[in-house]
């Protein structure tokens, strides 16, 4: 080790820092052999001693106690920091309350819509939805003669045309019927505002039906067992029997209708199809 290397390591040597053992041994050996470096090492050690004395004297200085200003500032800071959090929580609560109010309004609207739809539709809607299409026998189309025009005396279907039976379920009460199977006697042009009541609902497949109208004294208890929906053709005079307007000029034409038969074979409800 030369004097320059010793100079670079003399601080670590006097401050007793971590050094490599070989470097430390070389520095000490150089300090013993070089008079200038030995004097420098001695000066550094003397300086370190004096600095330690100064540090010891400073350490004995009394630490100032934590003043009340600090505590006051700390408390005021905490007090100032809390209101923003409170405001944030208020905003959060308002948002949550608004969301809950909107959800409640949507729920009420859905409930009102369901209640209205149940009140408009006759008791047919109260049929249990558990009656699946496959569990029902195939329905038939019954052609009703003019003499049998009274809805109460509608016979049970006796002609099997191969059409599938359908259960009357609330959501599917306006189900489409295939126009290719049953001949449509009533053209679309015949549908006028005078013939169709205002409560007629439109179907997605261009088939317009009226709501179900009770036939006789149908009650919910008798309809809960399920039933069959049969597409029939009736004389137009049947419209008059149910209080619907009829075009006298087309008296001889027939109109299609869906008749709901309960489990006991009795006609319970009817709707007209166009």
């Amino acid at each position: 080790m030369n004097c320059q290397d010793f100079e670079s390591n003399v601080n670590d040597l006097t401050r007793e820092q971590m050094m490599e053992a070989s470097v430390l041994a070389e520095a000490l050996a150089h300090g013993e052999g070089c008079e200038a470096c030995a004097r420098r090492l001695e000066e550094q050690r003397s300086l370190s001693f004096k600095l330690r004395a100064l540090a010891g004297e400073t350490n004995s200085a009394k630490l100032p106690p934590m003043g009340n200003d600090l505590l006051t500032a700390f408390r005021s800071r905490q007090a100032a920091a809390n209101p923003p959090a409170t405001r944030a929580s208020r905003h959060y609560r308002a948002i949550v309350a608004g969301a809950m109010a909107v959800a409640a309004m949507v729920f009420v609207a859905i409930a009102v819509t369901m209640i209205r739809s149940r009140s408009v539709t006759p008791a047919v809607q109260s049929l249990p939805p558990a009656v699946g299409p496959k569990s029902l026998p195939p329905t038939e189309i019954a052609t009703v003669t003019p003499g049998e025009s009274t809805p109460e005396s509608l016979p049970l279907p006796h002609k099997n045309t191969g059409r599938e039976g359908r259960s009357v379920v609330g959501k599917n009460r306006h189900r489409n019927l295939s126009p290719t199977v049953a001949p449509v006697d009533v053209s679309v042009k015949d549908v006028t505002a005078k013939e169709i009541p205002t409560s007629i609902t439109s179907d997605a497949a261009a088939e317009i039906t009226t709501d179900f109208m009770p036939v006789g004294y149908a009650s919910a208890t008798t309809l809960q067992d399920g039933g069959q929906l049969v597409r029939v053709e009736l004389p137009r005079s049947a419209l008059v029997a149910f209080g619907l307007p009829m075009n006298v000029n087309r008296y001889e034409e027939k109109v299609k209708a869906d008749v709901f038969f309960s489990a006991d074979g009795m006609a319970r409800a009817i709707r007209f199809v166009q």
Binding site: S8, N11, R15, Q17, E43, Q44, L47, S48, K50, L51, A53, L54, A55, E57, T58, N59, A61, L63, P64, M66, G67, D69, L70, L71, A73, F74, R75, R77, Q78, A81
Partner: protein, 188 residues
């Protein structure tokens, strides 16, 4: 402490305030200024505790860095004023020497400490802070580098230069004292 616990603040003060106070006292040589700096550092900690990032360094390094900034600011602001602290310190030293059993040794030791203190205070700030941190606070190079925000090599080189300056500053005083003693003997 961030949650508003006063006991945590008190515990942190008891643990860290001594180092900050010593650093400020050794940097500026004024007890009053050191008191102010210590209070200001903790005020900053209370106000801007959220600025502390544990990934950038320890709490001690953060506090010492704040203390360093405040000390340097105060030193630059009060550069043109003359401190009355030296007189009070010498009075304190006299009081110590009066109460001790060996007044001569204590007087010599006190004079040595005063000379070292003056030499340290006479250093430029960049060298003084390194001496204070590494030699008086006995920090490692790495810890001092964290406080100062510089590289370890910079700390080493500054300390080397600072110690050389201290030796140079203290050498003429010793020689003058020696000359005074010889002249005194001659006159006697």
């Amino acid at each position: 402490m961030l949650a508003g616990d006063e006991e945590a603040l008190a515990a942190l003060y008891q643990r860290r305030a001594r180092d900050i106070f010593r650093f400020a006292l050794q940097m500026c040589g004024s007890r009053a200024l050191a008191d102010d700096v210590t209070q200001e550092v903790f005020m900053v900690l209370i106000r801007e505790a959220n600025t502390f990032d544990a990934a950038r360094g320890s709490v001690n390094a953060f506090l010492m860095g704040v203390a360093r900034n405040h000390v340097l600011r105060r030193l630059r602001r009060e550069r043109f004023y003359v401190s009355m602290e030296e007189e009070s310190q010498s009075e304190t030293a006299k009081n110590i020497s009066r109460t001790s059993e060996n007044p001569l040794d204590d007087m010599s030791r006190t004079e040595t400490i005063e000379s070292v203190r003056k030499a340290v205070l006479a250093l430029p700030e960049r060298y003084r802070e390194v001496v204070v941190l590494c030699d008086l606070q006995e920090m490692s190079y790495l810890e001092a580098a964290e406080v100062l925000g510089c590289a370890v090599g910079t700390v080493r080189s500054r300390l080397h230069r600072a110690r050389a300056l201290l030796i140079e500053k203290m050498r003429p005083a010793e020689e003058e004292e020696a000359v005074d003693v010889k002249s005194a003997r001659c006159f006697a």
